[in-house]
C-alpha cells in the first residue's frame, strides 16, 4: 500500500485521528451575523471530512474576547454562548464522515484594525504598533490580562459544549500570547515581561485556565512559530525552550508549528509560502520542536503532494502534515489517494488566491477550483453524469475557462471538442508561468491536460476555429472562451503598430512568450498593477536587462496580494529593478537608436523622459469578440446567458427549450477581462447542468 504513512491513525489527547492529514486553521472569512458559523462554513468543512481529511482545525484567529474584533475577517466569535448551537451543526457535519474538528481560539492583541465595528482599543503588552495592520494599541493592564485569560477559558468551554473535539490556542502570528513571549513586542518590566518565566506567564495562565475549564478529555493544542526571523524576535532555540516549557505541563495535547513571524509584510509572506518557495521550507523548524516535546507535532506550509507528505511522515520529522491549501484546491485529496486516483488530484499550485483574498477581507476561494467554499450553493466537486440528452459540445479556446468548460462538459458525459489556436492548452496561464518563480502556474494546465485526456476530450491544437469548422461538428452547444489580446492601442501616442518593426512598444505577453527578446535598457509601463507587470519586469531583469517599472497607480504590483507582492519585491530589488509610481506613459518616440518615453506625473502633470532601448506596456486584455459576433445571429439563444439562472447555480432555461441549431455562450476574457478564477467559475456554474 502506497502512502501508508499518511494513513496510520494517531491519537491526539483523547481523540483518534483517522489519518495524518490536517486542514490547519485559516481564516475562512465565511462566518456571518456577529461571527456565527453559517451553512456555507459547515458545508465547506463537511466537504473536507467527506473527502477523508483526518482533522480539520477551523476558524483561524477565532476570537475569545469582544475587544479582538472578528468582523474584519468574518471570523468566528467565541465570546458569546450564541455560538454553541452553530458549533453543534458543524461538529455533526464533520463527525458524520468520520472526521474530527477543532477550532483555533485567540485574542489577536494588537494584530488587528481598530477603525470599525466596536472601534475597539487594541491591546498589546507594551503598546508597540504592528506594521502589517498599521495598528496602534494601548498597553494592556493587569485587569485586562485576567479578563482575557477568563475569556479564553469560556471560549474553550463553548467549543466543548458545541461538540467540537478540541481547541488550538493560537500563540503564533504574533497574537496576544506570543506578543507576550516575544521580546520584540513585550518590553514590560512587571511579572508579565522581562525574564523567560515572566514572558511565558500569560500563555501559561491561559493554558491553565482553559485546561481547568474543559478537563482532561477535551483536546487542547497550541500553535506556535518555529522562528520569528526577526533580529529582536524569538529564534528557533528560544522557541524550542518555550515548546518544552509548555509541554512539560502535560496540559498541551499537540503543537502546531509554523515557520516565521508575520508582523511585517515580508515575514507575513513566509507564513503562507507561495509558489516561489521550495517545498516545506520550514519543516526543519517543526522537526526541531518535535525533538523537545512529547506530544504530536503538526506542520503545515507548502505540503501539497501525497508523495511529499509521505516522505515527511516516514522520515518522522513531524507527526501530522497540514495540507490546508491542498484541501482548498481539492477537498477530495485523501479520497482520491484511496481510490488510486492520485493523478486526478487537483494540486494546489501556490497561487495564494485564497489567502490573498482573505487579507482583503474577502471570502476564501481557490484560483482553480470554483466549487470550493461554494458547496452550500450546490456547486459540486464531483460532476455527475447527465441523465438528460447527450450533446455535442464545442469549446473554442483552451485557456482556463475553456479547459474547465471542456472538463465539466465531458464529465457530464457529452462529446466534447476543444479548439486551441496555439500548440498547447493553457492560454494566459502559460504566459504567466514563464516568469521566474511563477512556473508552478502551469500546474493548473497540467491537471486539466491529464483530466481532459482521461475524459477523452478531442483536443485540436494549432487549430483556430472558425464558423465553418465549428458548424462542421454539428454542435448542440458552442462555448467561446477565446480570451483576448493585449490592449496596446488605447493611447495612440504610445506608438503601437501591428508590425513589430514599426511598433514603438511591446506587449508584456510578447516578452513572456519569448516572441520578443528583452533589450538592455527597458522601461516597463504597468497600469494594471497585477501579476503581469511585475512578472514581466522580473523576467526581463532575470535575463539581464536593466529595468525600470513605472506605474501611474500607487505602486507597482499594487493589486498583487499580500503574500505575493513581498516575494516579487524581494526579487525585483535584488535584481535592481527600479520601481517608480505615479507616472503615466504619455508618449513614446524614437531618437536616433534609442526610444524616448515621455512620462507624466499623475498629480502634477509634470513631464519627464526616459531614454531606453525598449518600452514594454502592460495595459490588460482586450476581448476577442469577432467569432462571437459571427456566430451570435445563428445561435438559438443569440449568445445570451440567463443571468438569474447562472447566479442561482441553476440550469440555463434554453437547455430544456426545444429548437433547431446550437446554443452559444461565451465565458472568460472574451466577454470582459477578469481573472483565472472568474473564467473557471463561469465555466463550472454554466456547464455543470449541460
Amino acid at each position: 500500500m502506497a502512502f501508508e504513512a499518511m494513513f496510520e491513525p494517531i491519537k491526539i489527547g483523547s481523540q483518534t485521528i483517522r489519518n495524518r492529514v490536517v486542514s490547519t486553521a485559516h481564516a475562512e472569512v465565511y462566518a456571518t451575523d456577529g461571527g456565527m458559523t453559517s451553512e456555507r462554513y459547515v458545508k465547506y468543512y463537511e466537504e473536507k471530512a467527506k473527502g477523508g481529511c483526518g482533522l480539520c482545525i477551523c476558524g483561524g484567529s477565532s476570537v475569545v474576547s469582544i475587544d479582538s474584533p472578528q468582523g474584519w475577517w468574518s471570523s468566528v466569535n467565541l465570546s458569546t454562548d450564541r455560538i454553541i448551537p452553530h458549533f453543534q451543526n458543524l461538529a455533526d457535519a464533520v463527525h458524520k464522515h468520520g472526521g474530527k474538528i477543532m477550532i483555533q481560539i485567540t485574542h489577536m492583541g494588537r494584530r488587528s484594525r481598530w477603525d470599525g465595528y466596536d472601534w475597539s482599543t487594541l491591546l498589546s503588552p507594551s503598546g508597540v504598533r504592528e506594521p502589517v495592520h498599521r495598528s496602534t494599541c494601548k498597553t494592556i493592564e493587569e485587569e485586562e490580562i485576567w479578563r482575557i485569560i477568563g475569556d479564553f477559558a469560556q471560549a474553550a468551554r463553548r467549543a466543548k459544549e458545541g461538540g467540537l473535539d478540541g481547541v488550538e490556542l493560537s500563540a503564533v502570528h504574533q497574537h496576544l500570547v506570543d506578543q507576550f513571549w516575544s521580546p520584540r513586542v513585550n518590553k514590560r518590566t512587571d511579572q508579565w515581561g522581562g525574564s523567560f518565566e515572566n514572558r511565558m506567564r500569560f500563555g501559561m495562565e491561559v493554558l491553565k485556565a482553559v485546561r481547568e475549564e474543559v478537563g482532561d478529555e477535551f483536546v487542547v493544542g497550541m500553535r506556535i512559530t518555529g522562528d520569528e526571523f526577526h533580529p529582536d524576535g524569538l529564534d528557533h532555540e528560544e522557541m524550542k525552550r518555550i515548546a518544552a516549557y509548555y509541554d512539560a505541563t502535560g496540559k498541551v495535547d499537540f503543537f502546531g508549528v509554523v515557520g516565521s513571524g508575520c508582523d511585517t509584510h515580508n515575514t507575513l509572506a513566509n507564513v503562507i509560502p507561495n509558489m516561489s518557495y521550495p517545498p516545506e521550507p520550514f519543516l526543519h523548524l517543526a522537526a526541531g520542536i518535535k525533538t523537545v516535546v512529547s506530544v504530536p507535532v503538526i506542520h503545515a506550509q507548502n505540503i501539497k503532494d501525497p508523495n511529499q507528505a509521505t516522505r515527511i511522515l516516514e522520515a518522522g520529522h513531524v507527526d501530522l502534515v497540514g495540507m490546508t491549501r491542498a484541501h482548498i484546491a481539492d477537498p477530495h485529496l485523501i479520497a482520491k489517494i484511496k481510490m488510486g486516483q492520485t493523478d486526478q488530484i487537483r494540486q494546489c499550485v501556490g497561487a495564494n488566491y485564497c489567502i490573498d483574498r482573505q487579507y482583503q477581507g474577502l471570502d476564501v476561494l481557490c484560483i482553480q477550483n470554483g466549487a470550493t467554499s461554494r458547496e452550500y450553493m450546490g456547486l459540486p466537486h464531483i460532476i455527475e453524469k447527465t441523465r438528460g440528452p447527450l450533446r455535442k459540445v464545442v469549446v473554442v479556446g483552451g485557456g482556463p475557462g475553456g479547459m474547465e468548460a471542456a472538463r465539466v462538459s465531458a464529465e457530464r458525459g457529452h462529446d466534447v471538442t476543444l479548439f486551441e489556436a496555439k500548440d498547447q492548452i493553457g492560454g494566459q496561464i502559460t504566459t504567466a508561468s514563464r516568469a521566474p518563480g511563477r512556473d508552478q502556474m502551469a500546474g493548473i494546465t497540467r491537471w486539466y491536460q491529464l483530466e481532459l485526456d482521461r475524459l477523452g476530450v478531442d483536443i485540436r491544437l494549432n487549430t483556430p476555429a472558425d464558423e465553418a469548422t465549428i458548424k462542421d461538428l454539428r454542435p448542440d452547444i458552442v462555448l467561446l472562451a477565446t480570451g483576448g489580446a493585449p490592449h496596446m492601442t488605447q493611447v495612440a501616442d504610445w506608438g503601437f503598430d501591428e508590425d513589430p518593426e514599426k511598433s514603438l512598444i511591446v506587449s508584456s505577453w510578447d516578452i513572456l512568450d519569448g516572441k520578443v527578446e528583452p533589450a538592455k535598457n527597458v522601461l516597463v509601463f504597468d497600469t494594471i498593477c497585477e501579476f503581469s507587470g511585475v512578472s514581466v519586469a522580473d523576467y526581463m531583469a532575470d535575463k539581464g536587462s536593466r529595468v525600470e517599472i513605472v506605474t501611474d497607480d500607487i505602486k507597482p504590483g499594487a493589486a498583487v496580494g499580500g503574500t505575493t507582492f513581498p516575494t516579487y519585491y524581494r526579487t525585483l530589488y535584488e535584481k535592481e529593478v527600479i520601481m517608480t509610481s505615479d507616472l503615466a506613459l504619455h508618449k513614446v518616440y524614437r531618437e536616433g537608436p534609442a526610444l524616448v518615453a515621455v512620462l507624466e506625473n499623475e498629480y502634477t502633470g509634470q513631464m519627464e523622459e526616459r531614454v531606453v532601448d525598449q518600452v514594454v506596456v502592460e495595459n490588460g486584455v482586450k476581448p476577442s469578440e469577432t467569432l462571437y459576433y459571427t456566430l451570435k445571429p445563428q445561435s438559438r439563444n443569440r449568445g445570451q446567458m440567463d443571468l438569474e439562472a447562472l447566479y442561482a447555480i441553476e440550469p440555463q432555461p434554453c437547455l430544456s427549450e426545444p429548437g433547431e441549431g446550437f446554443l452559444l455562450f461565451r465565458i472568460g476574457d472574451c466577454t470582459a477581462p477578469r481573472n483565472t478564477h472568474a473564467a473557471i467559475y463561469d465555466a463550472l456554474r454554466l456547464c455543470k447542468d449541460f
Binding site: 521550495p278 517545498p279 508523495n307 512556473d439 491536460q449 515621455v598 526616459r610
Partner: protein, 423 residues
C-alpha cells in the same frame, strides 16, 4: 582604481546650493560621471533612475540629496561583492591527546559522513578546555580534498603510498597499527560505513583488542564521562554505553564543524611499517546494471524533461552512459516516463554523484529533489533557467545534439579502450 581628482572650487559650488552656478555644476559633475538626470532636447528632464546614488565609504549604496559629498563619490552603484566571511583559525600546538579519525574519502573527498564523524571527533577533542585534544585525520592514497581545514582537522597524516590506494584493508591496518604505536590516540573514530570505515574500524578494534562501540549515533555526556548511544540488532534497538576507545559512528552522529578553521598540520609516521600479509587481492569494481539500483540510490542519473523531443534517443543515451533514468514531473505528466521515475519533492529524492538534467528548467520541487546530488550537469537551451543556476556545469544548446555527441564520445573512448586491451 584611480584616485578621484578634486576641484575644490567646484566642490564649493556644489556644496553651496545658493551659488548661481550650482545647478549647472551639479549637472556637469553628474554628466561627466554617469549622470542620473539631465535636460533632454525636448526641454523635459531626462532621468536614469539606475544611476542615482553611489557606493559610499562603507560599501553601501548612498544617495546624497544634499550634494555635499557627491564629488567624493567613488564608484557608481552596482551589486555589492559578496565575500565569504573568514572563520577563525584554531591552532593547537601541544595537544593533550589525539583523536584519530579515518575518513572514507570516497572519490578522494571527504564524504558528508566523514564530516559528521570529524564533527564528533571535534566534540571529543574540545570538550575540556583544560585538556585540549587534537583531531588527526588519516588519509590513504591520493586525494583531492581542499577543505580539510573547514572540516575540523588539526593534524593530517597523509599516507600516499600507491599500494594503499583503493581497497587495501590489510595494508591500511598495518599503517594504523604503526600510528597506534607512535601516537597512541586517545580514541579512534571511524565512519561505520560500507565504503570502508565499517570494515577497517572493526579490523583495527579486534587487532587492538578493544571492544568498539559500533553504529554510534550520538555522544552523551554523563557525569563528566563520555557515553554514547548506538543502534543495535539491525536498527531495532538503541544501546547506551560508556564510550570506548574505538568508535564506529553512523551518519549524522554529530554536526559537522562549521564555525572554525583548523590547521591541518601535516604529520608523518616515523618508524617503518612492517609489510602486512596480504590475503585479499582487489580485482576492481564490477559494472552493474543501473536498472538494478533504485533511483534514490543511483550513482549516476540521466534525467529528461520538457526539452526532450525524441525519447528513444534519450533512452539510448541512458543505456550508453550506463546511467539510471530520471524525469521531471512535466515529462511524467505528459506520459513520456513512468511515474516512479519522477525526480523531485513530489517524486523521488535522489542522491547521485552526477545528475545530468536534460531539458529540465528546474521547477523548485525538482531542485529540492536533487539537493543531495554531488554534481549537477544541466543541458538546456535556456541560459536563464533555474537548473542552469543550480548546475555545476551547464551546457547551453540543443539537448539532443549534445547528448548525441556525448554518446559518440563515450563510444569512441570505449572502442579505444577495447583496442588497447586487445593489443
Amino acid at each position: 582604481m584611480s584616485l578621484p581628482r578634486k576641484n575644490p572650487r567646484l566642490e564649493w559650488i556644489a556644496r553651496n546650493r545658493l551659488h548661481p552656478d550650482h545647478a549647472q555644476v551639479m549637472a556637469e559633475q553628474g554628466a561627466s560621471a554617469s549622470p542620473s538626470q539631465w535636460m533632454g532636447p525636448a526641454g523635459l528632464v531626462r532621468r536614469d533612475p539606475h544611476r542615482i546614488g553611489s557606493i559610499g565609504p562603507n560599501g553601501i549604496k548612498r544617495i546624497d540629496r544634499s550634494g555635499l559629498l557627491s564629488s567624493q563619490a567613488a564608484a557608481s552603484p552596482g551589486r555589492q561583492a559578496k565575500s565569504e566571511p573568514q572563520k577563525p583559525l584554531v591552532t593547537i600546538d601541544e595537544p593533550a591527546f589525539i583523536i584519530a579519525v579515518v575518513p572514507d574519502m570516497a572519490g578522494g573527498e571527504l564524504t558528508s559522513h566523514d564530516r559528521d564523524v570529524l564533527g564528533m571527533a571535534r566534540q571529543l577533542a574540545d570538550a575540556d578546555p583544560a585538556r585540549q585534544g587534537a583531531v588527526l585525520a588519516v588519509v590513504f592514497g591520493s586525494h583531492r580534498e581542499t577543505r580539510f581545514e573547514h572540516a575540523g582537522v588539526d593534524r593530517l597524516l597523509h599516507l600516499g603510498d600507491e599500494r594503499l590506494e583503493g581497497y587495501s584493508p590489510e595494508r591500511r591496518l598495518g599503517q594504523l597499527e604503526a600510528l597506534e604505536r607512535e601516537y597512541s590516540p586517545e580514541r579512534w573514530v571511524f565512519p561505520d560505513s560500507q565504503l570502508g570505515g565499517a570494515e577497517l574500524g572493526r579490523r583495527l578494534s579486534v587487532r587492538l583488542r578493544e571492544r568498539p562501540a559500533t553504529q554510534v549515533w550520538q555522544l552523551l555526556s554523563r557525569d563528566n564521562e563520555w557515553a554514547c548511544e548506538c543502534r543495535g540488532a539491525r536498527e531495532r534497538s538503541d544501546i547506551v554505553r560508556t564510550l570506548p576507545r574505538c568508535i564506529l559512528a553512523l551518519e549524522e552522529c554529530a554536526e559537522p564543524v562549521s564555525e572554525t578553521r583548523h590547521e591541518v598540520r601535516a604529520v608523518e609516521l616515523e618508524g617503518s611499517v612492517p609489510e602486512a600479509m596480504i590475503r585479499i587481492d582487489n580485482l576492481g569494481q564490477v559494472a552493474v546494471d543501473p536498472a538494478s539500483v533504485a533511483l534514490g540510490e543511483a550513482e549516476f542519473i540521466l534525467s529528461g524533461g520538457n526539452g526532450i523531443k525524441n525519447w528513444d534517443r534519450f533512452h539510448h543515451a541512458a543505456v550508453q552512459l550506463r546511467a539510471a533514468e530520471g524525469a521531471s514531473r512535466v515529462a511524467v505528466d505528459n506520459g513520456f516516463m513512468p511515474r516512479e521515475r519522477q525526480v523531485g519533492a513530489t517524486g523521488t529524492w535522489v542522491s547521485a554523484r552526477v545528475y545530468i538534467a536534460v531539458g529540465i528548467s528546474g521547477a523548485i520541487q525538482h531542485l529540492q529533489g536533487i539537493e543531495r546530488c554531488n554534481k549537477v550537469v544541466a543541458i538546456n537551451r535556456d541560459m536563464g533557467c533555474d537548473m542552469v543556476k543550480r548546475a555545476d556545469l551547464a551546457v547551453i544548446g540543443d539537448a539532443e545534439e549534445i547528448l548525441e555527441a556525448l554518446v559518440a564520445l563515450i563510444d569512441q573512448k570505449r572502442t579505444e579502450e577495447a583496442r588497447h586491451e586487445a593489443a
